[in-house]
Symmetry: C2
Subunit: 105 residues, 2 copies
Protein backbone atom coordinates (compact mmCIF):
# COMPACT_ATOMS: atom_id res chain seq x y z
CA UNK A 1 0.00 0.00 0.00
CA UNK A 2 1.16 3.49 -0.80
CA UNK A 3 2.48 5.73 1.97
CA UNK A 4 3.39 9.37 2.27
CA UNK A 5 6.70 9.86 0.44
CA UNK A 6 9.57 10.99 2.62
CA UNK A 7 10.97 13.55 0.20
CA UNK A 8 13.98 15.79 0.94
CA UNK A 9 13.95 19.56 1.40
CA UNK A 10 12.63 21.39 -1.71
CA UNK A 11 13.24 22.27 -4.45
CA UNK A 12 12.55 19.04 -6.32
CA UNK A 13 10.03 17.98 -8.97
CA UNK A 14 6.63 16.27 -8.86
CA UNK A 15 5.01 14.41 -11.74
CA UNK A 16 1.27 14.42 -11.07
CA UNK A 17 -0.46 11.73 -13.13
CA UNK A 18 -4.26 11.69 -12.91
CA UNK A 19 -6.13 9.04 -14.85
CA UNK A 20 -9.39 7.27 -15.57
CA UNK A 21 -9.19 3.57 -16.37
CA UNK A 22 -10.95 1.56 -19.04
CA UNK A 23 -12.99 -1.51 -17.95
CA UNK A 24 -11.17 -4.70 -16.85
CA UNK A 25 -7.61 -5.25 -15.72
CA UNK A 26 -6.03 -6.30 -19.04
CA UNK A 27 -2.60 -6.68 -17.47
CA UNK A 28 -2.67 -3.22 -15.91
CA UNK A 29 -2.19 -4.23 -12.25
CA UNK A 30 0.95 -6.26 -12.84
CA UNK A 31 2.47 -3.62 -15.12
CA UNK A 32 1.69 -0.78 -12.69
CA UNK A 33 3.47 -2.68 -9.91
CA UNK A 34 6.45 -3.38 -12.17
CA UNK A 35 6.69 0.27 -13.20
CA UNK A 36 6.73 1.47 -9.57
CA UNK A 37 9.51 -0.99 -8.83
CA UNK A 38 11.49 0.08 -11.88
CA UNK A 39 10.95 3.81 -11.30
CA UNK A 40 12.22 3.40 -7.74
CA UNK A 41 15.58 2.28 -9.10
CA UNK A 42 16.10 5.24 -11.43
CA UNK A 43 18.68 7.92 -10.64
CA UNK A 44 17.06 10.93 -9.03
CA UNK A 45 13.89 9.11 -7.92
CA UNK A 46 12.71 10.53 -4.57
CA UNK A 47 9.43 8.75 -3.85
CA UNK A 48 5.93 7.95 -5.05
CA UNK A 49 2.38 8.24 -3.71
CA UNK A 50 -0.65 6.62 -5.28
CA UNK A 51 -4.40 6.20 -4.71
CA UNK A 52 -7.35 5.29 -6.89
CA UNK A 53 -10.96 6.00 -6.04
CA UNK A 54 -12.78 6.45 -9.31
CA UNK A 55 -10.00 8.71 -10.54
CA UNK A 56 -6.43 7.54 -9.95
CA UNK A 57 -3.73 9.92 -8.76
CA UNK A 58 -0.07 8.96 -8.78
CA UNK A 59 2.52 11.53 -7.76
CA UNK A 60 6.16 10.64 -8.28
CA UNK A 61 8.95 12.86 -7.00
CA UNK A 62 12.26 13.50 -8.76
CA UNK A 63 15.47 15.38 -8.12
CA UNK A 64 15.32 17.41 -11.34
CA UNK A 65 13.93 17.57 -14.90
CA UNK A 66 16.83 15.48 -16.21
CA UNK A 67 15.79 12.56 -14.00
CA UNK A 68 12.18 12.83 -15.26
CA UNK A 69 13.38 12.96 -18.86
CA UNK A 70 15.56 9.87 -18.41
CA UNK A 71 12.67 7.93 -16.86
CA UNK A 72 10.39 8.99 -19.74
CA UNK A 73 12.99 7.62 -22.18
CA UNK A 74 13.36 4.27 -20.35
CA UNK A 75 12.45 1.57 -22.88
CA UNK A 76 10.33 -0.61 -20.56
CA UNK A 77 8.49 2.52 -19.46
CA UNK A 78 7.90 3.49 -23.08
CA UNK A 79 6.24 0.13 -23.73
CA UNK A 80 4.02 0.63 -20.65
CA UNK A 81 3.13 4.18 -21.69
CA UNK A 82 2.06 3.01 -25.14
CA UNK A 83 -0.21 0.34 -23.59
CA UNK A 84 -1.58 2.98 -21.25
CA UNK A 85 -2.59 5.28 -24.10
CA UNK A 86 -3.98 2.47 -26.22
CA UNK A 87 -5.67 0.22 -23.66
CA UNK A 88 -5.64 1.10 -19.99
CA UNK A 89 -6.64 4.74 -19.74
CA UNK A 90 -9.80 6.32 -21.11
CA UNK A 91 -8.27 9.67 -20.21
CA UNK A 92 -5.34 11.08 -18.27
CA UNK A 93 -3.50 14.27 -17.49
CA UNK A 94 0.19 14.45 -16.66
CA UNK A 95 1.59 17.56 -15.02
CA UNK A 96 5.23 18.35 -14.28
CA UNK A 97 5.64 20.71 -11.35
CA UNK A 98 8.49 22.18 -9.33
CA UNK A 99 7.92 21.76 -5.59
CA UNK A 100 8.90 25.02 -3.94
CA UNK A 101 7.78 24.49 -0.34
CA UNK A 102 6.44 21.71 1.84
CA UNK A 103 5.45 21.03 5.42
CA UNK A 104 3.78 18.24 7.30
CA UNK A 105 2.55 16.61 10.44
CA UNK B 1 -16.83 11.57 -7.41
CA UNK B 2 -13.64 13.34 -8.35
CA UNK B 3 -12.71 13.81 -12.00
CA UNK B 4 -9.63 14.94 -13.86
CA UNK B 5 -9.40 18.73 -13.44
CA UNK B 6 -9.67 20.71 -16.64
CA UNK B 7 -6.91 23.17 -15.85
CA UNK B 8 -5.74 25.94 -18.21
CA UNK B 9 -2.40 26.15 -19.98
CA UNK B 10 0.56 26.27 -17.52
CA UNK B 11 2.05 27.93 -15.59
CA UNK B 12 -0.22 27.61 -12.57
CA UNK B 13 0.19 26.12 -9.09
CA UNK B 14 -0.64 22.75 -7.55
CA UNK B 15 -1.12 22.08 -3.83
CA UNK B 16 -0.44 18.39 -3.29
CA UNK B 17 -1.92 17.24 0.00
CA UNK B 18 -1.16 13.64 0.98
CA UNK B 19 -2.58 12.31 4.24
CA UNK B 20 -3.25 9.38 6.49
CA UNK B 21 -6.49 9.44 8.48
CA UNK B 22 -7.14 8.56 12.08
CA UNK B 23 -9.83 5.94 12.86
CA UNK B 24 -13.52 6.86 12.48
CA UNK B 25 -15.20 9.69 10.61
CA UNK B 26 -15.54 12.23 13.46
CA UNK B 27 -17.15 14.78 11.16
CA UNK B 28 -14.41 14.54 8.57
CA UNK B 29 -16.54 13.56 5.55
CA UNK B 30 -18.99 16.43 5.85
CA UNK B 31 -16.20 18.96 6.46
CA UNK B 32 -14.14 17.68 3.50
CA UNK B 33 -17.14 18.11 1.22
CA UNK B 34 -17.79 21.59 2.57
CA UNK B 35 -14.15 22.60 2.08
CA UNK B 36 -14.14 21.45 -1.57
CA UNK B 37 -17.29 23.47 -2.17
CA UNK B 38 -15.82 26.53 -0.46
CA UNK B 39 -12.42 26.24 -2.18
CA UNK B 40 -14.18 26.08 -5.55
CA UNK B 41 -15.58 29.54 -4.95
CA UNK B 42 -12.25 31.20 -4.14
CA UNK B 43 -10.61 33.61 -6.58
CA UNK B 44 -7.93 31.85 -8.60
CA UNK B 45 -9.22 28.32 -7.96
CA UNK B 46 -8.66 26.18 -11.08
CA UNK B 47 -9.76 22.67 -10.07
CA UNK B 48 -9.34 19.78 -7.65
CA UNK B 49 -8.64 16.05 -7.87
CA UNK B 50 -8.97 13.63 -4.99
CA UNK B 51 -8.66 9.91 -4.20
CA UNK B 52 -8.18 7.88 -1.05
CA UNK B 53 -6.94 4.30 -0.96
CA UNK B 54 -5.12 3.88 2.31
CA UNK B 55 -3.29 7.15 1.72
CA UNK B 56 -5.38 10.09 0.54
CA UNK B 57 -4.15 12.42 -2.19
CA UNK B 58 -5.89 15.70 -2.94
CA UNK B 59 -4.40 18.01 -5.54
CA UNK B 60 -5.91 21.47 -5.87
CA UNK B 61 -4.88 23.84 -8.64
CA UNK B 62 -4.55 27.59 -8.32
CA UNK B 63 -3.72 30.57 -10.55
CA UNK B 64 -0.85 31.80 -8.38
CA UNK B 65 0.69 31.84 -4.90
CA UNK B 66 -1.51 34.76 -3.87
CA UNK B 67 -4.64 32.65 -4.44
CA UNK B 68 -3.17 29.82 -2.34
CA UNK B 69 -2.25 32.26 0.43
CA UNK B 70 -5.75 33.76 0.48
CA UNK B 71 -7.35 30.30 0.71
CA UNK B 72 -4.98 29.37 3.55
CA UNK B 73 -6.11 32.50 5.41
CA UNK B 74 -9.84 31.81 4.91
CA UNK B 75 -11.37 31.58 8.39
CA UNK B 76 -13.59 28.52 7.77
CA UNK B 77 -10.60 26.78 6.22
CA UNK B 78 -8.48 27.67 9.25
CA UNK B 79 -11.02 25.99 11.55
CA UNK B 80 -10.96 22.87 9.32
CA UNK B 81 -7.15 22.82 9.20
CA UNK B 82 -6.96 22.96 13.00
CA UNK B 83 -9.38 19.99 13.29
CA UNK B 84 -7.31 18.17 10.68
CA UNK B 85 -4.09 18.55 12.67
CA UNK B 86 -5.73 17.71 15.98
CA UNK B 87 -8.22 14.96 15.04
CA UNK B 88 -8.51 13.75 11.47
CA UNK B 89 -4.96 13.15 10.26
CA UNK B 90 -2.37 10.91 11.84
CA UNK B 91 0.11 12.37 9.38
CA UNK B 92 0.17 14.52 6.26
CA UNK B 93 2.45 16.30 3.86
CA UNK B 94 1.53 19.43 1.94
CA UNK B 95 3.58 20.48 -1.06
CA UNK B 96 3.25 23.65 -3.09
CA UNK B 97 4.45 23.23 -6.66
CA UNK B 98 4.53 25.31 -9.83
CA UNK B 99 3.15 23.37 -12.80
CA UNK B 100 5.45 24.05 -15.73
CA UNK B 101 4.12 21.65 -18.37
CA UNK B 102 1.20 19.30 -18.88
CA UNK B 103 -0.28 17.01 -21.48
CA UNK B 104 -3.07 14.47 -21.63
CA UNK B 105 -5.24 11.99 -23.45
Amino acid sequence: MSEIANTPKPPYYAVIFTSERTEGDNGYGAMAEKMVELASKQPGFLGIESAREGVGITVSYWRDLEAIKAWKANSAHQVARKKGREEWYSSFRLRIAKVERDYGL
